[in-house]
Symmetry: C2
Subunit: 108 residues, 2 copies
DNA sequence: GAGTTAATTAACTCATAAGCTAAATTGTGT
DNA sequence: ACACAATTTAGCTTATGAGTTAATTAACTC
């Protein structure tokens, strides 16, 4: 359902990425409070919020006429888990690179 | 330079994601060896490889008539670092704290 | 230097995505 | 019920992206 590529797609837009960072830093916020993440119209922000919600990155709590948004921790955790699944790849490779630089040996 | 949204954009396509997973699992591979990640034409694969390369996710080594591709460990590490920057957000919000604590030795 | 192999670039089509303005929706206060 | 405030939905325009086939580049072999 919420596949990793779908999550990445949601975070691939600079405005949406900024929204997510803002929400993680400050906690839940209304759509109006997120208006200044980018110089675009309110409908545009609203659309981005919808995309993030449909991708499972954020969730919406309705409180009166306001919509309060927050990041779903699972979404970020899923990304973290994926990188950790491949930890041996990038950790080991970086080690090799570091060693190669130290030894001035660039084999393979 | 290679911003995180740009990296996410590169990984937002299912075919490109599959290419990256394949490369991480098997190590460096030629374009031809990646042909079967999706039922699309060779030019389509080539285009995906270019997108991944321009986003800094993979790199190319030319060897005769072959192009050998591999994932740049820094790209995956950058994603991991980002999730870790916000670790307090998603860790604190989840009930899976135990597992996180178990992995603490891997921090830093 | 012609042929073969490996892969890319070119030119094009079609679908999706992002932006806008204007209209509609939904709850709150009078 | 009426007006207001906070957002979203609708309808439209334009840009980007993924796929195709055909043509091109690049390096090795005979």
């Amino acid at each position: 359902m919420t596949s990793l590529p779908a999550t990445f797609a949601a975070l691939s837009d600079a405005t949406r990425f900024a929204i997510v960072e803002r929400l993680m830093a400050t906690g839940a916020r209304t759509a109006g409070e997120l208006a200044d993440v980018a110089p675009i119209s309110a409908p545009a922000i609203s659309r981005h919020l919808r995309v993030l919600r449909e991708a499972g990155v954020i969730e919406q709590r309705i409180e009166g006429p306001k919509r309060i948004y927050s990041v779903r921790p699972q979404a970020i955790r899923a990304i973290s888990d994926w990188t950790m699944d491949h930890r041996t790849f990038w950790e080991g490779s970086l080690d090799r690179l570091a060693r190669a630089l130290e030894n001035r040996e660039l084999d393979e």
